[in-house]
C-alpha cells in the first residue's frame, strides 16, 4: 500500500513525464505547489490549459502563435521577398533577438534524420515549396542547424529550390564569439577560413 496520497502521486507522475524532470524533481515541485497558495496552483493550471486551447500553428510560416497569420506574417513592414527557413520555433525567437532580420520565416518542425525515420514528408517542406511557387519570394535563407542533419536538410532543400530568379543562401558558419580557437574542430576552422572577410 502506498503511503503517498493519491492526488500527490498523480501530480508527481504527470510532472515526471516532462523532459528533464526526474521523479525526485517531480516530488519537490509537487510539494512546493502543495505548500504554496491555492491561487498560484490555479494560475499554473489555467496557463497550461490556455496553452493547449489557444495556441495554433500559423498557416503561413508554421510558427507557434496565438493567432493565424502570426504577428510576423501579418506585419506589412516585413520584407515578404525573403524567407528564413529554420528547424524549430525557438530558432525564430533566437533570430528575432538579433533585431537584424526583417524578412519572413518558415518553420520546418525538425530536420531530416533518416536514421530516426524523419524524412521530408514529416517536415513542412511541401508548404515551403507552395509559398515559393506564389512568386513573391526572391531569397530563401537556409538557417538549419550547423550539424549533419541540418546540413542534409539544407542540401535537400537546395535541390528542390532550383527556381529561376530565386536565390538560396545558407547562414555563414565559423567560430563563435567568445570561443577558443584551440578547441575548434577541423570542419568549423575550415569553414571559418573559407568564409574569412577583409577588415
Amino acid at each position: 500500500m502506498s503511503i503517498t496520497a493519491k492526488p500527490i502521486s498523480r501530480v508527481v507522475d504527470e510532472l515526471s513525464r516532462l523532459p528533464g524532470i526526474g521523479p525526485k524533481t517531480a516530488q519537490r515541485l509537487t510539494y512546493f505547489l502543495l505548500r504554496s497558495p491555492s491561487e498560484q496552483s490555479e494560475a499554473l493550471a489555467e496557463a497550461i490549459l490556455e496553452l493547449k486551447r489557444n495556441v495554433v500553428l500559423c498557416t503561413e510560416c508554421f510558427n507557434i502563435t496565438d493567432r493565424s497569420p502570426c504577428e510576423v506574417c501579418s506585419n506589412p513592414e516585413r520584407d515578404a521577398s525573403r524567407i528564413c527557413v529554420v528547424e524549430e520555433p525557438l530558432d525564430v525567437v533566437a533570430l528575432e533577438r538579433t533585431g537584424q532580420y526583417k524578412g519572413m520565416y518558415h518553420v520546418l518542425h525538425g530536420a531530416i534524420s533518416p536514421i530516426e525515420g524523419i524524412g521530408p514528408e514529416e517536415l513542412k517542406i511541401r508548404e515551403l515549396l507552395y509559398r515559393v511557387q506564389q512568386g513573391e519570394v526572391e531569397e530563401i535563407i537556409l538557417a538549419t542547424n550547423p550539424n549533419l542533419e541540418g546540413d542534409a536538410t539544407a542540401m535537400y532543400l537546395t535541390r528542390l529550390l532550383q527556381v529561376p530568379g530565386l536565390t538560396v543562401t545558407r547562414l555563414a558558419r565559423g567560430l563563435p564569439v567568445g570561443g577558443d580557437l584551440e578547441y575548434a574542430d577541423e570542419v568549423t576552422l575550415s569553414n571559418a577560413l573559407a568564409g574569412r572577410s577583409q577588415i
Binding site: P114, E116, D151, E186, T188
Partner: protein, 257 residues
C-alpha cells in the same frame, strides 16, 4: 584478494552513430567503440554554440573521448576529432548512405560487446563513401561484411538443405534460412526468390574478396539491382524490420538519376 574498482574516467576512441537532444542543451549519443562495442553516453551542453565539444561529436565523427562514469549514463568530458570523413559530408546521397550504414551498425551491434572488425569496417566504409568508388558496391560490400562480422554470414557455396555444392542453375536465395538453396531443395523455403548466376557470382565476390571490387570493371546493372534486393531482404529479415533510412536513400538516389 584484490578488489580493483573500475577507473572513474576512461579514454576511448568512438564513432558517433546517432544522438538525440536531451534537456536544455545536452545530447545523448550512441557510440560505436573499437574495444567496448556499442555504448551510450551523455554530452552535456553540446548544443550550445560555444561548446568546445560540439564539432567533435557531430554524427559520423570519429573522435577520441574522455568519459566519466555516471550513475545511469557515462558523461563525455572531452572530445577531439580523429577523422570527420569530410568528403562524404558534402553530398546528399553520400550522407544518406552514411545514415544507412549507421543504422545497420546500430542494429547489428550489441552494447558493451566488443567487435573490433565491425568498428574497422565502419571506419573503412565511411572513408569509401567519400571516395570515387562505386557507391552501390561500397554499400553491398558493407552489408555483406557486417553480416559476416555479426555471425550472419550467408552460405553461398553449398545448399543450406542438402549440403551439395551449388552449381549454375535454378538456385534460390533464402533470407529466412540465410543462403542458397539448390534447385532440388527450393521448396524448403517456397518464398525464397530465384537468384541469377551473375548475381550469385557478385554475392560471392563481395563475401570473399571485398577489397578486389575495383577490379570488377563491368557488372551488369540488373545483377547489381538483384544483389541489392537480396541483401536488403536478408538484412531486413535479420533485423526483424525494415530499415528506416532506406526510404530516404532511395528517394534521393531517384531524384539524382
Amino acid at each position: 584478494m584484490t578488489n580493483q574498482a573500475a577507473p572513474r574516467v576512461y579514454r576511448t576512441e568512438a564513432l558517433v552513430l546517432k544522438g538525440y537532444d536531451y534537456g536544455e542543451a545536452d545530447r545523448i549519443l550512441t557510440l560505436l567503440t573499437p574495444h567496448s562495442g556499442k555504448m551510450r553516453a551523455i554530452a552535456k551542453g553540446v548544443r550550445r554554440t560555444k561548446s568546445r565539444m560540439s564539432g567533435h561529436l557531430d554524427l559520423f565523427t570519429r573522435s577520441t573521448l574522455l568519459i566519466a562514469r555516471g550513475r545511469q549514463l557515462d558523461i563525455v568530458t572531452q572530445a577531439e576529432t580523429v577523422e570527420n570523413f569530410r568528403p562524404m559530408r558534402g553530398d546528399l546521397v553520400r550522407v544518406s548512405s552514411a545514415h544507412y550504414v549507421a543504422e545497420i551498425l546500430d542494429e547489428f551491434s550489441a552494447e558493451n560487446l566488443p567487435n573490433y572488425p565491425l568498428y574497422a569496417l565502419a571506419i573503412a566504409t565511411l572513408r569509401q563513401l567519400g571516395g570515387d568508388g562505386d557507391l552501390d558496391l561500397t554499400l553491398r560490400s558493407f552489408e555483406m561484411q557486417s553480416l559476416a562480422h555479426t555471425g550472419y554470414r550467408p552460405q553461398l557455396h553449398r545448399c543450406l538443405q542438402c549440403g551439395t555444392e551449388i552449381v549454375p542453375g535454378q538456385n534460390r536465395f533464402s533470407p529466412k534460412l540465410g543462403g542458397i538453396l539448390c534447385p532440388d531443395c527450393g521448396m524448403a523455403d517456397s518464398a525464397a526468390p530465384p537468384i541469377s548466376v551473375p548475381a550469385l557470382k557478385l554475392l560471392r565476390h563481395l563475401q570473399t574478396n571485398p577489397d578486389g571490387l575495383r577490379s570488377l570493371t563491368s557488372i551488369p546493372v540488373v545483377a547489381k539491382q538483384e544483389v541489392e534486393q537480396r541483401l536488403q531482404e536478408y538484412v531486413t529479415h535479420r533485423m526483424e524490420g525494415r530499415l528506416r533510412s532506406v526510404r530516404f536513400l532511395e528517394q534521393v538516389r531517384a531524384d539524382q538519376s
